[in-house]
């Protein structure tokens, strides 16, 4: 009985993540359109797109990895989702959130990209291959400030558990204010994580068609889109948990994640994209500096 409730909870989590992630994608398109003086698509457009993509026939075969790549991406998104506490001190969907820790999570988040890289590599499209190399080098870029920010928190509070960090914030206040340097580094790394402008060179249509996904259509693209939405929700929830004190109810979670989400979206609207080496240089500049400051701050105090 217990296990049944747990499974139900996990399924519910996945569905919520999908719905919310897709909704955010739709709102992103709407906001973008309004900034660009347009009406824009309705906010449910992304659901229709995903449904249509999944209902398309697919008759491309490049090899086994090509079929597994999107699945890897999905597995990674869902896996990460299940290891993250969605709500604070909540018994509805605890999932696996009290078993995993930050270091494990870091590995899990990279796993999907690597799977996609293998899949895209097998399609043999040079655009995909170049896109994958760019994606991986950009990942190397933003992982450094991101890991530094996390390490600073871990050192400060002597824990790697997300639940413990959330608990700490109840006592000391939000880490956003407690550890401002770590927060800045993490937010700057988030720009790269979301792959909106200026860090969207991975799938830049103007030079690479659409990068790694250029050979994937129909169901695979639908799967990637859904897993991308879930992953966006995962990242936003993780940031909320780590820096914004988590959320005690669903409305609070939506408000906090949406506000966080608007940061990369609104910055992306007004910036052109960096080239790969410029992006990496950017991440290894100020964001890493703030990360280092955060670590020093943690070590000294």
């Amino acid at each position: 009985m217990d296990i049944l409730i747990k499974i139900l909870g996990a399924v519910a989590t996945i569905i919520i993540a999908f719905v919310v992630g897709m909704l955010y994608g739709g709102l992103n398109r709407k906001v973008t359109a309004r900034v660009q003086n347009r009406v824009g698509p309705p906010f449910w457009q992304n659901y229709l797109d995903a449904f249509k993509l999944v209902s398309k026939k697919t008759s491309i075969h490049h090899g086994v990895m090509q079929h597994l790549g999107p699945a890897f991406l999905m597995v990674s998104s869902i896996g990460t989702l299940l290891f993250i506490p969605i709500l604070k001190g909540n018994n509805w969907f605890p999932n696996l959130s009290f078993h995993g820790d930050l270091i494990f999570l870091l590995y899990l988040m990279v796993f999907g990209s690597l799977g996609l890289a293998l899949g895209a590599g097998q399609t043999g499209n040079p655009n995909s291959a170049i896109g994958v190399t760019r994606g991986l080098s950009q990942m190397v870029g933003f992982e450094i400030p991101w890991v530094m920010a996390l390490v600073a928190i871990m050192i400060q509070y002597h824990t790697t558990s997300i639940a413990d960090i959330m608990h700490v914030q109840e006592v000391h206040g939000w880490l956003m204010f407690q550890k401002p340097f770590a927060f800045i580094a993490a937010i700057l790394a988030m720009f790269g994580m979301f792959r909106y402008s200026p860090f969207d060179i991975v799938g830049a249509p103007a030079e690479l068609a659409s990068g790694p996904v250029s050979e994937f259509g129909g169901k695979y693209l639908g799967l990637m889109m859904s897993s991308g939405s879930i992953f966006a929700f995962v990242k936003l929830t993780l940031y909320t948990d780590l820096f914004l004190g988590g959320a005690s109810n669903f409305i609070e979670l939506l408000v906090k994640t949406f506000l966080l989400y608007m940061i990369p979206v609104s910055y992306g609207l007004v910036s052109p994209r960096y080239r790969t080496e410029q992006a990496v240089r950017y991440f290894w500049g100020w964001p890493s500096f703030f990360g280092l400051l955060a670590i020093l701050y943690s070590v000294i105090f």
Binding site: T32, V35, Q36, N37, R38, P126, N127, A129, I130, S197, P198, D200, I201, A204, P205, A206, E207, A209, L269, V270, S271, P272, R273, Y274, R275, T276, Q278
Partner: protein, 372 residues
């Protein structure tokens, strides 16, 4: 060893980053381009052959399809060539209307170019703004000529119609709007540090070699050479306007994408000046010198070449007549004919593969005028 591997990347013809329908075959070492070859011919319709079967006036339906973003300079070039060939005079009012239409076309083309240039760098908001605003100019075109994209307006001997009533107020309002809007474009695009980082030092053209290599128009002015057909080989009333100081020809040192972008941005400002002046000072009178019945209109044997400054640079028409009512031979010279083939192939070498469409846009590549 792995780094030495040369990859071949086919950019186009179906590719979102390519301007129009053409292909660039790139040889890559890592992310750096070591060889480039342009392949064109996807838009060849044999216009010059078709013109041999159309009389002097029937060609005008064909002319505007030579370069789609900016059809008017081509019409102007052909009309000028026919006028040079025949020695036909144009009334003063027609000259003013022609200049008005040409400058509006220049603005419309630059606004579209804003979209291409910023879109290839990933700044889509700019393209949405400027292409959306371009509709106001197309509205003015509809008022003057009746057509949104293709106008068929500038004919040998004048223009097809007079300006409509109340046009001046409407046009002035649009110019006011654009003056305000240009400042917003500046904030979004030119003052953006990432755009500056992307554009500066990319796609450099050597100033010493530029003229020899056939670089013309804004690209040449981006190399710091003040050269413009409107003042070098003046046509219509441009020489007069330049002497009166109505417009300036901006030129910026550097020879990179950034200086070319600046040239284009400042030329929009100059176009607004010219349009304001023309609207204020347009003389009354005829707008059209009557031509003979087009089916019996014969032009004596001879040839002529006209030059017009379009947004991509110098465009020109070579027209040869054999004394009949059909041209013996017409040959169009587009700026992109040189820019997109020999120049692009050389500028791309050593560039990053991420900059290909960025550089192509800044050179003003326009495939339909290459292959016609």
């Amino acid at each position: 060893m792995e780094r030495e591997k040369v990859t071949t990347l086919y950019l186009g013809p179906q590719h979102p980053g390519i301007t129009g329908n053409m292909m660039v075959r790139l040889k890559l070492k890592g992310d750096t381009i070591v060889g480039a070859r342009t392949e064109v011919g996807y838009l060849h319709r044999g216009f010059e052959k078709l013109q041999e079967k159309r009389n002097w006036l029937q060609s005008f339906t064909i002319l505007c399809r030579f370069c789609v973003p900016e059809p008017d300079p081509v019409e102007e070039a052909y009309a000028l060539a026919v006028e040079l060939l025949e020695g036909r005079e144009v009334p003063e009012r027609a000259k003013y209307i022609r200049v008005l239409v040409l400058e509006l076309a220049r603005m419309a083309s630059y606004l579209l170019w804003f979209g291409g240039q910023s879109g290839s760098a990933g700044l889509y908001t700019m393209g949405q703004w400027s292409v959306g605003d371009r509709n106001y100019i197309l509205d003015l075109f509809e008022d003057i000529t009746g057509g949104r994209v293709y106008h068929m307006f500038i004919w040998p001997g004048g223009v097809r119609r007079d300006l409509p009533k109340g046009f001046k107020d409407k046009a002035m309002k649009v110019m006011d709007y654009f003056e305000k809007r240009l400042e917003e474009y500046d904030t979004l695009m030119f003052e953006n540090s990432i755009f500056q980082k992307r554009a500066q030092g990319v796609g450099i053209i050597d100033k010493e070699k530029a003229v020899e290599w056939g670089v013309v128009g804004p690209v040449l002015r981006g190399c710091g050479i003040k050269s413009d057909i409107r003042i070098d080989d003046p046509y219509e009333i441009y020489g007069e306007l330049y002497e009166k100081g109505v417009f300036e020809v901006p030129a910026f040192e550097g020879g990179d994408v950034w200086s070319r972008a600046l040239v284009r941005r400042f030329e929009i400002r100059q176009s607004i000046n010219i349009i304001r002046y023309v609207l204020d000072n347009i003389p009354d009178g005829e707008f059209y010198n009557k031509i003979p019945n087009p089916h019996k209109w014969k032009i004596a044997k001879g040839d002529a070449y006209s030059r017009v400054e379009a947004t991509r640079g110098e465009v020109g028409f070579f027209v040869a007549s054999d004394g009949s009512q059909y041209p013996r031979r017409t040959h169009f010279r587009g700026a992109a004919y040189v820019h997109a083939i020999t120049l692009l192939e050389n500028v791309l070498i050593g560039a990053n593969v991420a900059d290909v469409s960025f550089i192509m846009n800044s050179l003003g590549t326009c495939p339909p005028e290459i292959e016609r």
